[in-house]
Symmetry: C2
Subunit: 481 residues, 2 copies
């Protein structure tokens, strides 16, 4: 066909993962049409296929937020400089990386506004106005929006000037309730990542050095990517009453005494799509867990020109469409092209239907995660597809778990530790004295950072891996995105 | 109870509509907790109740967009100055009212960025990269986001520095297809407003003076508020190939010739919530159509301390919760307080259940729109609630339609016209020669603007209401928000 301007329409080869993981990643995100670069430095465009994954993540998380009693709101995207400055640690953490609006129309502003890098200050200001009595508590709000951080080096999903996320912000009467909320939301995230995204995570607490600017304690779920590096996948912060004091958020308790509220915040972003790609992807492209896959099942007719094939394929589509996101590709491209295309896009299940299958009242189902073929009787189609999609999710989780477990090491002396970090992609468990000086030295010596102090502690040894003093905590260390 | 800091907890009286409509509006939006003012000038906070309405509007429209073949994407929130300037009319229309980002972190930017007031330029730049062949067309994208326009005078929902909306942007092979899309989306908007929001609208075309900056033609749905003023409620623009030429969006057609695409854009915003308030509200507060009401049915137990009442109320809630958004208010407040509170919040249907009702296996259903009470047998509860909610929607639409129809006037001479605009709140139909000078004079003389040239034309007279020359079009005139 005379159409030489029409690029990107063949299934082009992508770089192999093991040859160049960074290039593989870029190839996959562009080739599967998740994102495109925009005219704006460091800002990505979420294309329909990428946005559909984000929509599915949103629906899944939003349901869990509402089931745990949270309500959605929308705050302004701007924060006046004076508001950002109210909490000292917070402004120090964020001011160096915000975008500043200085003019409205042709006029300079009396006070410059930053584009929100996160919205604690806006929620706090609002809470200070609407919370008066213990009967106004708890307030459990969430918002879905994009935020901006002026990053120098950017990569789609992993680090960009603008990204999309949700940020939960809650206010409670007591410290205990705030801590309960903080841990509850970390559990929601862990459950969502493991059950829906098929990504195993390590739950733990961040060291003080790594915690959120203004938080009393930050909790995290950490996932291991295919290259052994860590991706911080969701965080939940307990603010104590620090923000409440800075913003004067007080309520009258049952004894008519003024008390400060205790607050939390927690967030998951479009980084989670980066995790999906880097945990599950392979040299043929994306591998998507069924829960978030924009297309869960693709039907590819074989010998589609033969009588009845397209009719049967259409009939199967109708049957499946009630329960699944299903696509019938009846274009005139070759089946082999289609196989490669939907593998690239990570569609969890492919169904092939041709004249010989029809004779036997069957079709062929092929799993994306392991290539396994199953002959399915058409009378059981719906139930079998459901079973196979569950098997895909389970298989993906198991594979990711085994891949991670085989790359978590334990170190008892510092030379061993440095050797592991340098030569064995993965996480290293090691004991720590709790001193920030050791944490900084480890980072300087190895470029590894403390990922978290896991809830599931082990006693690897009795002494700090770095200084040899008595150890307080086991820490998981790793290089990170 | 010792709780004197706890304000806003009684059902406070609001200003009467007829006494001061503007104050009534402000009272309603604050008192029903739709929005709050924020720390940022001109920017509102959508509180849970207001955001829930917006979520319902989003779900309804998004479904219609997807049914008509549109896909969601997300574009960056920033537009570099050079990109904004590519289409001459467009930049002239928007540049005076945008917010400019001039610094990232501590450094001045090489090129300043505006916060999107609308995203034509970003979509066009993206389309110029991804459209090559006729096989790439049409592209039918939409995004849900907030945009910023540096307004001096602001009012919640009606005019604010930041507002939430959806913006559809499409590219087509031919002018005919683009025109078809433009009108299709106007129809989607009209259908949504009339069926789901119970707001009758006039469909028509904007005059050139009132059209969108850069459009070839703008179409609109115009609604009449309680005070007779107009609210432009949704617009759909046909861009022809103007943007395509400015951004070089070309495709190779089937004959291998380069052609420019033809584009459209269309949007509906949180202004629609302003329309809901001002079309349906009354002196008791909001009146919400069931489709968007965050609470569709509220159950108020009467004599709740009597044995079995709360159990029965809970049982009714369980029954109804499968199909409706239902709330049981079992707090210890008085029923009268609850009645007023949920009237203020516009809940379409209130159900009262007390000991005497239980004896008779019945409950009392009270419609918010007209106060009508219906005794309902509990065995038919679900079906009766469904019927009553439909009746509420139908009643609201009919009432709004009659209210509008009774305030649309026709003028044949200019004195009559000016008198009507000055003294009769509502719309005036009058003939127009098509000359912008007359349109400007009318605005100067009366402050009324041309709302649209309705698709349903009538011949009120043969000559222009302003200059007396032969008329070309009937125009609907009115004062507007």
């Amino acid at each position: 066909m005379a159409d030489n301007k029409n690029k990107g329409k063949q299934v082009e080869a992508i770089t192999s993962m093991d040859q160049d993981f960074a290039q593989w990643y870029t190839d996959v995100v562009l080739r599967s049409e998740l994102v495109d670069y925009s005219y704006v430095r460091g800002c990505m465009i979420l294309r329909p296929y990428g946005y559909a994954i984000w929509e599915n993540i949103q629906h899944g998380l939003d349901k869990m937020f509402k089931e745990t009693g949270h309500e959605n709101v929308a705050m302004p995207m701007f924060i006046p400089e004076s508001l950002l400055q109210k909490e000292k640690d917070h402004v120090e953490g964020f001011a160096p990386e915000v975008a500043w609006v200085t003019h409205g129309g042709t006029e300079p502003l009396a006070e410059k506004l930053c584009v929100r890098p996160t919205s604690e200050t806006l929620f706090c200001d609002h809470y200070s106005k609407i919370i008066q009595s213990y009967r106004d508590l708890p307030k459990k709000y969430n918002q879905w929006c994009s935020v901006v951080r002026w990053e120098k080096t950017t990569r789609p999903f992993l680090r960009s000037v603008e990204f999309w996320w949700q940020e939960g912000h809650t206010a409670h009467a007591t410290a205990e309730e705030a801590q309960e909320e903080t841990l509850q939301m970390l559990d929601v995230y862990a459950k969502f990542f493991e059950e829906k995204l098929a990504i195993p995570v390590i739950k733990g607490r961040k060291t003080d050095k790594e915690k959120f600017a203004g938080a009393e304690a930050t909790y995290t779920i950490e996932a291991m990517m295919h290259d052994g590096k860590a991706l911080q996948s969701g965080t939940s912060h307990n603010f104590g009453d620090g923000f409440a004091k800075a913003f004067d958020i007080q309520y009258t308790d049952k004894e008519n005494k003024l008390q400060y509220v205790h607050q939390t915040s927690w967030g998951v972003s479009t980084r989670s799509i980066g995790a999906l790609i880097m945990v599950h992807g392979d040299d043929n492209g994306l591998v998507l867990p069924p829960f978030v896959a924009p297309i869960q099942v693709v039907i590819v007719p074989i010998a589609a020109h033969k009588p009845g094939v397209l009719d049967k394929a259409n009939e199967m589509k109708q049957t499946l469409a009630e329960k699944f996101r299903v696509k019938l590709d009846d274009s005139d491209k070759m089946p082999g092209w289609k196989f490669a295309e939907y593998e690239m896009k990570g569609v969890p299940l492919r169904i092939e239907i041709g004249p010989r299958d029809m004779e036997n009242n069957q079709c062929v189902c092929v799993r994306r995660d392991n290539g396994e073929k199953t002959i399915v009787n058409l009378d059981n189609l719906e139930a079998e597809v459901e079973r196979l999609l569950q098997a895909v999710r389970d298989g993906m989780y198991q594979k990711a778990l085994e891949s991670r477990e085989s790359r978590i090491y334990s170190a008892v002396d510092y030379d061993e530790f440095k050797d592991m970090i340098a030569n064995k992609p993965g996480f290293v468990k090691a004991m720590w004295c709790g001193d920030e000086a050791c944490e900084l030295k480890i980072k300087e010596d190895t470029t590894a950072t403390s990922r978290c102090m896991p809830f599931e502690q082990e006693e690897i040894s009795g002494t700090c891996i770095c200084c040899g003093k008595p150890a307080k905590k086991m820490v998981v260390w790793g290089k990170a995105y």
